[in-house]
């Protein structure tokens, strides 16, 4: 081993310690789903890997309507993401590529970004009251509408950044050939910014999948999504059910972790409002 490698060693030790700090708690939490309540409340078996069981998972599927809530989450996430993108893509194209006043462009674009700062608590109360009046309260479609609307702004803002990267010469050439704006969007802009489009879609998907506050107010036992179920099922008895906590958390975070690892590069850009481009 050369001197240089020896000097490097403490650095990698530090990196691995940090990684352990970040990842061990998640593994510990996931592991709890495979422990029965007796094991989990035994102080001598805190880090033990013995006595693992699938019983809690089976209980979740059989008695906790877990599959129904998983289905709600999947339906809400996929449909709201799809519709939000259908609105955001044309809006972003309009802002990025079409002829309009520079002032209007900037202020509209900023408005879409500013929506990101809006605290959810400020809109949830009136929406709750209105939904109660028109019968959308405690229904899944009601929740989906909210998810669509609240994810359009950031998606539009991020997509605008990606669409602007498509060289203007290409758009102009297309227009000379008689391309209408709509066919330019479909045939040129969308295919050329496919990676960006995919990353914004996945980011929107993650935001909706993870959402709790709206769902906790606007759903009930027949329309809950996974995060609301997770909160509910952990606390429904006199003791905190750490086993069920492990099951519900694992189901929520595994898909997100897979997406995060696959889309790492683009997610950073999405999460920093498009400021980090790389």
């Amino acid at each position: 081993m050369t001197l240089k490698n020896i000097l490097k060693a403490p650095k990698f030790v530090l990196i691995f310690v940090l990684l352990a700090l970040f990842l061990v708690p998640i593994i510990f939490q996931m592991n709890s789903g495979f422990k029965a309540l007796g094991t989990i409340y035994d102080p001598d078996q805190i880090v033990s890997l013995k006595n693992l069981t699938m019983a809690v998972w089976i209980d979740a599927v059989k008695h906790q309507k877990f599959l129904m809530y998983l289905k709600h989450s999947i339906i809400a996430t996929i449909s709201a993401t799809a519709v939000a993108m259908l609105f955001a893509i044309p809006a972003a194209y309009g802002l990025a590529k079409l002829r309009m006043g520079e002032k209007t462009r900037k202020s509209l674009s900023f408005e879409f970004l500013a929506m990101r700062m809006l605290p959810g608590i400020a809109v949830i109360i009136p929406i709750f009251v209105v939904y109660k009046k028109i019968g959308l309260l405690y229904t899944l479609p009601g929740l989906i509408i909210i998810y669509i609307v609240f994810n359009i702004p950031l998606a539009t803002w991020l997509l605008e950044g990606f669409f602007k990267e498509v060289p203007n010469e290409i758009s102009e050439a297309a227009r000379i050939d008689g391309c209408t704006p709509l066919s330019e969007l479909i045939r040129i802009i969308v295919p050329l910014s496919a990676p960006g489009l995919l990353s914004v879609t996945i980011l929107t998907f993650i935001f909706i999948w993870n959402e709790y506050m709206f769902a906790s107010v606007l759903t009930t036992s027949s329309s809950r999504t996974l995060p609301v179920w997770a909160a509910y099922t952990t606390y429904q008895h006199y003791i905190v059910n750490y086993s069920m906590l492990g099951v519900s958390s694992t189901v929520m975070i595994v898909p997100v972790i897979i997406f995060a690892i696959l889309m790492q590069k683009y997610l950073v850009r999405g999460l920093s409002f498009g400021a980090v481009k790389e």
């Binding site: 990196i15 940090l18 970040f22 061990v24 708690p25 998640i26 510990f28 939490q29 709890s32 409340y41 102080p43 880090v47 609105f87 955001a88 044309p90 809006a91 802002l95 002829r99 509209l108 879409f112 929506m115 700062m117 809006l118 605290p119 959810g120 608590i121 400020a122 949830i124 109360i125 709750f128 909210i146 669509i148 609307v149 609240f150 359009i152 702004p153 227009r175 008689g178 704006p181 999948w209 709790y212 996974l226 995060p227 997770a230 750490y242 519900s248 929520m252 975070i253 997100v256 972790i257 997406f259 995060a260 690892i261 590069k265 997610l267 999460l271 920093s272 400021a275 980090v276 790389e278």
Partner: protein
């Protein structure tokens, strides 16, 4: 270049549907909320009649010690979390900047805490900080440190929330600083080398000025988000024990959806909204001035 197909109003066909939806369902409720906030409105207690009360709800909010407490806690939570995240994020970025092999693997792994469901983070906090069977106290016992009642104790509950937020979001700061560092064109460093600038001169003349905007952006995002923090704190303690983690959003949620005092909740949410707008505008001004 002028084309026949693209008129001056074409953009409206593309932008207006999204804009309309956002204004209708996003901004519309805010206006309705202003209206509700001037009414006495409790959906759980029918003995309290629905009626116009003017600005009385706002007066109640501003004289409620729990509301002032929640603002105080939010400011402490935000200031402590954001500073620690900046420190830890920078530390990780410094550690990993010259690690080329496996960089994407490291970045993916560090990305995990910030993308996983916040409710899962809160539940995880509940479990790992459990004073009897949590892994944190297990580790403390191993190291002969005293057993701490983390979130069940008025003194340490907010600190536990701060630790959890730092755990969740330090890697956000790390990732954007790393990207910022990598975005500095190598020619800058080569030019500095040619001119004979040393390590510190390069650091202060090239690296830090370029990174300043990255830091400001990280602060902007994190300050706004810590003011909006709700999920993990609510799931862990519901604002307790004895209001020790009662952040503004938690207080507001409790007022509106646990006590069902919709009028009062609306007034509070309008106050929060105004605070957020002022804070956001201020932070954006600071960033624009330094550009």
């Amino acid at each position: 270049m002028k084309t026949k197909i693209q008129g001056a109003n074409t953009w409206k066909w593309f932008v207006f549907p999204a804009l309309f939806l956002v204004l209708l369902v996003g901004i519309g409720p805010l206006i309705y909320s202003l209206f509700i906030s001037t009414h006495q409105y409790n959906i759980a207690k029918i003995q309290i009649p629905y009626k116009f009360v003017g600005l009385k709800n706002y007066a109640t909010i501003f004289t409620d010690p729990h509301v002032w407490n929640s603002f105080k806690l939010t400011i402490i939570f935000s200031a402590a979390s954001v500073s620690l995240e900046l420190i830890f994020g920078s530390l990780i970025a410094l550690l990993l900047i010259n690690v080329v092999r496996g960089r994407n693997v490291y970045r993916s792994l560090f990305l995990i805490p910030m993308v996983i469901t916040p409710i899962a983070v809160g539940l995880m906090g509940r479990y790992i900080f459990d004073d009897a069977v949590g892994i944190v106290n297990w580790l403390f016992r191993l190291l002969n440190l005293p057993r701490i009642i983390w979130y069940g104790n008025v003194k340490s509950a907010l600190i536990t929330m701060i630790i959890l937020d730092v755990w969740e979001w330090s890697s956000f700061v790390f990732l954007i600083i790393l990207a910022g560092l990598m975005a500095i064109p190598p020619e800058y460093y080569e030019a500095a080398k040619v001119e004979g600038a040393g390590y510190f001169r390069t650091l202060f003349k090239i690296t830090l000025p370029t990174l300043r905007n990255v830091y400001l952006l990280a602060m902007l995002v994190r300050i706004i988000d810590t003011f909006k923090e709700f999920d993990k704190v609510y799931i862990m303690t519901k604002g307790g024990p004895n209001f020790a983690t009662d952040l503004i959003t938690v207080r507001n949620y409790t007022l509106a959806f646990k006590e069902f005092n919709i009028g009062l909740g609306s007034a509070f949410s309008i106050v929060i909204l105004i605070v957020m707008i002022l804070l956001g505008t201020f932070l954006i001004r600071v960033i624009q001035r330094t550009y």
